[in-house]
């Protein structure tokens, strides 16, 4: 078990993603490109704002709990960070979509 895990870790370090080659970004021609830029900006703005609302609720509840139970602060903090990561990943999805719209531009 330990040796197979070690070999898997060594495989990660040795050959990360040789299979997938990156496609070069090509400039867009037509009217979809400017709309892609607009949509990317607005999508990121909405995602960041709503993500901030959700994370604010989570942090408020966690800080309140930590103030009531200082002994459990470490565990609450760990749970809060995991929850924040899960909330934040939704905004990160929007960021990835915005980057696809900006740099890859599959629809022209």
């Amino acid at each position: 078990m330990r040796r197979s895990l070690f070999l898997a870790g060594a495989a990660v370090l040795a050959f990360p993603g040789l299979a997938l080659a990156q496609q070069a970004a090509t400039p867009a021609s037509g009217w979809v490109g400017p709309f892609g830029v607009l949509v990317a900006g607005f999508a990121m703005a909405f995602a960041a704002g709503l993500c901030a609302l959700g994370q604010g609720r989570a942090i408020a509840a966690a800080v309140e709990a930590m103030a009531r139970q200082p002994g459990a602060a470490a565990r609450i903090q760990t749970a809060m960070i995991i929850g924040l990561a899960l909330i934040e990943s939704l905004a990160i999805y929007v960021l990835v979509v915005a980057m696809i719209l900006l740099f890859v531009q599959p629809i022209r």
């Binding site: 895990l5 898997a8 870790g9 990360p16 993603g17 040789l18 565990r75 995991i82 990943s89 990160i92």
Partner: protein, 254 residues
């Protein structure tokens, strides 16, 4: 991100940059491991002391999340954590590229985690018992629960890889835009050159951006580097803990 980011100073022809700098991270980690284990002493000093402290942090997290029987997964978890941490930090050095700012690297790490925790779960409780995880607490709900569980399990490597990649690349794009604004600021100063307003506007703008970058953005990116490595490792441990716990534990409350 070739559109806005400067290529790194050292590139190997025919090999993508993230692979080159993955090898750099490998060299760093191998040298650190060699230096730490060259003269193993009972009372640790120097590099060995440092690496023992780092690994004890990993062991503490494993004990918290998985329990004491999770200590045999330390090689997998600590390797992933140290690789991602050093990969995140190396991308902050000007002139070097970060391996974790590329989707290929993060997807490789996430796929290893995906297959590893399924294999660990099947080995821990057998194939049939492991499949009961996917059926939910009540057998009558199994047709509803199986698609939900399948989708949630398939979304795990997607979210792991995209989270790390998006955080790192987003930070790099932010830095690139700030540096681009520095160039714009220089352009304004050049347009107004020969006059006092040019020097004032350019000087103040450059000062604000340098202070903002060095005082806020770089500490933020160092924090994000540690945080993303921590979260990757923590989620890996949560998945392993969910895979090796018994299915009865789910339905014990009903």
């Amino acid at each position: 991100m070739e559109a806005i980011e400067h290529p790194p100073i050292f590139t190997l022809p025919g090999i993508p940059d993230h692979v080159t700098y993955t090898w750099l991270v490998m060299i760093v980690l191998t040298v650190a491991a060699f230096a730490a284990s060259r003269n193993v002493a009972l009372v640790p000093r120097g590099v060995q002391n440092f690496m023992e402290v780092v690994l004890e942090q990993f062991l503490g997290m494993i004990d918290d999340v998985i329990g004491h029987e999770g200590r045999r997964f330390l090689p997998l978890i600590a390797t992933l954590g140290l690789f991602i941490l050093v990969g995140n930090l190396i991308s902050l050095v000007p002139g070097l590229a970060g391996p974790t700012a590329n989707l290929n690297t993060t997807a490789a790490c996430a796929l290893v985690v995906f297959f590893a925790y399924h294999v660990i779960g099947i080995r821990a409780q057998g194939f049939g018992n492991y499949l009961k995880h996917f059926m939910g607490p009540v057998p009558a709900l199994a047709p509803l629960m199986i698609p939900i569980e399948l989708i949630s399990h398939l979304a795990r490597p997607l979210s792991l890889s995209l989270r790390l990649f998006g955080n790192m690349t987003g930070g790099h794009i932010l830095l690139a835009i700030i540096f681009f604004l520095m160039g714009l600021d220089g352009l304004i100063g050049w347009a107004l050159s020969g006059s006092a307003p040019g020097a004032i506007v350019g000087g103040i703008g450059a000062l604000v951006m340098i202070v903002f970058t060095v005082g806020f953005l770089f500490p933020l990116k160092i924090l994000v580097s540690f945080l993303q490595a921590f979260i990757f490792v923590m989620l890996t441990m949560l998945y392993i803990a969910g895979a090796i716990e018994h299915a009865e534990h789910h339905s014990g409350h009903h």
